[in-house]
């Protein structure tokens, strides 16, 4: 996994609550057996007016000028500012892959749906939870004439914005460390292999019916 330490980038304000993963990457793009190729269809039904299909040339698509991602101020963005319950709905990890491939490294929102939040950490996308009032304030600035630049420092758990006090965020220490180091998730669990084996032996004795069809 790609580590996340320090990132500086432009913020795109997506002012909608309950953004679900069906919007982040619509179902017709989930047919791929690969981990790549999802970026160009991020928010497909919102970025384009015509219906998206796998293999459709993005240069021949009808662009929805009203959608914030198509606003000239928000090009080359890498930080997404969202509203409550971001990433709700389907468990599709393709949503995280699409965001990353599009160039988004960090999502800032007042709350996230559980599965999406977990999926972020497995891929080096940093989800930052910030209080509603501060989010409101950030939306105000990000929607202003000049696009908002933010420096995200995971080590110090802070967001730096020019001419503003640093904003600090909470993150579970156990989630921060693997992200900073870009640790292999499966490798981390394999360090507990003996424990898993011992548990399995006890579990099989206690509940043999679970293992009856092995």
């Amino acid at each position: 996994m790609k580590p996340f330490k320090l990132h500086r980038g432009t913020v795109v304000p997506l002012d909608r609550a309950n953004v679900d993963t069906d919007q982040i990457i619509p179902k017709q793009f989930l047919k791929s057996v690969k981990r790549t190729g999802f970026g160009e269809n991020l928010f497909d039904a919102w970025r384009f007016n015509d219906e998206g299909e796998i293999g459709k040339n993005p240069n021949e698509r009808e662009i929805n000028r009203e959608f914030v991602f198509n606003d000239p101020r928000y090009q080359d963005v890498s930080i997404l500012l969202g509203r409550q319950n971001f990433g709700c709905g389907s468990s599709r990890e393709h949503a995280v892959w699409a965001l990353l491939e599009f160039g988004i490294r960090c999502v800032i929102a007042p709350s996230f749906a559980d599965i999406f939040y977990n999926n972020c950490f497995k891929n080096g996308l940093l989800p930052i939870v910030i209080k509603e009032e501060i989010i409101e304030n950030l939306f105000g600035i990000a929607k202003d004439q000049l696009a908002l630049e933010v420096e995200v420092n995971l080590e110090t758990q802070s967001l730096s914005i020019e001419a503003m006090d640093d904003i600090f965020f909470e993150i579970e220490p156990g989630r921060k460390e693997p992200l900073l180091l870009g640790l292999d998730d499966i490798g981390m669990t394999f360090m507990h292999s003996d424990q898993i084996r011992e548990f399995e032996v006890r579990h099989r004795q206690a509940m043999p019916w679970i293992f009856d069809h092995d």
């Binding site: 609550a17 690969k34 219906e51 891929n123 693997p178 669990t189 507990h192 019916w209 679970i210 009856d212």
Partner: protein, 469 residues
């Protein structure tokens, strides 16, 4: 003892601690074609193999067509979808994983076949790369939807790293009136909680109205836990659970069943268990529910009208409602039963089990689907549900009325196959999500129970099933 059911199942599966969470042992892993290929690819790249093969059961469901199934994989017209189903075949063969493939009569929606086979057992941990895995919690199991990285992690280690959720109790008191079903109960609960209202929680559904539900009904309720943001939904073990499991292929029998039952009887929350949150719902007063917006909390009673956005105090909700009305092509104040439909879908992991089909068939019997509809389809949840329904003559009732009787799969719930809505078409659907574009680009979904869907198909507009009983 003051443990909740969730605490008990959790505690029985703790292997150890990692810095970022608890390592939980996983008893049962269900796989399908959409969220597994990248996980198998990851295993291959790292030279890893599945930890315990027998824990896995796979079936293709999301992408399979619901017609022309005799042709097997070659019957899938879409080459990309076909490759995904073939990839599942290849992965299952290469790694030795049990699969009910597209030609197997036991094939179906993962969340239908797990319980149907008795692979979903009380007190177990069940995971699947699909958010509706919460369905299996109806068996007093801890069932979690996971992402593809976690699918790979479970395959490799037989464990999942989790942070423990808070406990929430949703008590449904009283009893359901005629024409009101499990689907109406869960829609009403999501309406109360909101789509993110149960985030970070595991919900236990209790109360007389839940206890009197069949396993099918309990699965419908648990299935939509995720639509309130819950990590899991559970129902305590009882005689109904045991009765359902007896005789199923993967369920224990004989002495092993007796031993299992002794353990299963303890799968209830202790009388003094503490819940972090509790809410109540009165089933006696519940009417059939219909979603009107673009998330599953935007729900009203069938005899109500399309609401105006200003009923919401929260400006964010008002904004969501305004957007939803525009997307759905609705005017506030319009009676729900005046909304004319283009299509009706009966199916999905929420409502495609035999009981759902029986209820819908009872409404349909001797009647005709409105000629205003472009299509009305019934998609059974599995090959075995289909066979059972046919044995009972339900297929004939549906066909006589003008419904299409299809083969099993996820179908129009998420429209990855050919079954879908076209722009601005309106549907009554027994599925679980009414998100923008969920059932097809610019499609408009109203979530309802099977009885309401059946009544609406006959009427040609959203209709109260009680008028058809």
């Amino acid at each position: 003892m003051n443990k909740t059911l969730y605490d008990k199942v959790w505690d029985a599966h703790v292997v150890g601690q990692r810095s970022d969470g608890t390592i939980l042992y996983i008893d049962q892993h269900l796989l399908h074609e959409v969220t597994s290929p990248q996980a198998f690819e990851g295993l291959r790249a790292a030279g890893r193999s599945p930890w315990r093969l027998g824990a896995n059961l796979a079936t293709p469901d999301h992408n399979v067509p619901t017609q022309n199934r005799a042709a097997g994989i070659q019957g899938i017209d879409d080459p990309i979808a076909r490759e995904q189903v073939m990839t599942l075949d290849r992965n299952c063969n290469d790694f030795g994983i049990r699969q009910f493939d597209i030609t197997d009569r036991r094939q179906g929606i993962v969340h239908v076949i797990g319980p149907e086979q008795g692979a979903t057992l009380p007190g177990t941990t069940v995971v699947c790369g699909d958010s509706h895995t919460s369905t299996h919690g109806a068996f007093a199991a801890l069932a979690l939807g996971i992402g593809t990285s976690e699918v790979e992690h479970v395959l490799a280690t037989q464990c999942l790293v989790q942070v423990k959720s808070q406990n929430m109790r949703v008590e449904v008191k009283g009893g359901l009136q005629q024409g009101v079903y499990a689907k109406d109960v869960v829609l009403a609960i999501i309406r109360m909680l909101g789509t993110g209202g149960a985030t970070g929680h595991a919900i236990e559904y209790t109360g007389s109205a839940v206890q009197s539900l069949s396993m099918e009904g309990r699965m419908t309720v648990c299935n939509m836990s995720i639509e309130a943001g819950a990590r899991a939904g559970l129902v305590a073990f009882d005689d109904v659970t045991l009765g359902y499991l007896k005789g199923r292929p993967f369920a224990p029998s004989g002495d092993l069943l007796e031993k299992a039952e002794q353990y299963w009887r303890g799968l209830i929350s202790d009388p003094d268990a503490e819940f972090d949150r509790s809410i109540e719902l009165d089933a006696d007063k519940l009417n059939p529910q219909v979603s009107w917006g673009t998330n599953p909390e935007l729900v009203v009673d069938i005899d109500d009208v399309v609401p105006a956005p200003d009923i919401f105090d929260d400006p964010a909700k008002e904004e969501t409602a305004t957007r939803a009305l525009k997307y759905m092509g609705l005017e506030p104040g319009t009676p729900i039963t005046e909304l004319r439909l283009d299509r009706v879908f009966i199916g999905s992991c929420t409502n495609s089990r035999i009981e759902d089909l029986r209820v819908a068939a009872d409404v349909v019997r001797g009647r005709k689907v409105s000629s205003d509809l472009k299509s009305a389809i019934v998609v059974p949840g599995s090959g075995l549900v289909k066979a059972e329904a046919e044995q009972e003559g339900l297929d004939q009732i549906f066909s006589d009325a003008g419904f299409d009787w299809r083969d099993p799969g996820c179908s129009m719930c998420l429209a990855m196959n050919a079954d879908r809505l076209y722009p601005e078409e309106r549907a009554a659907s027994t599925s679980n999500r009414n998100f923008e574009g969920r059932q097809g680009h610019l499609g408009r979904t109203h979530l309802v129970s099977p009885a309401t869907a059946a009544a609406s198909a006959i009427a040609g507009h959203l209709a109260d099933p009680r008028e058809f009983m």
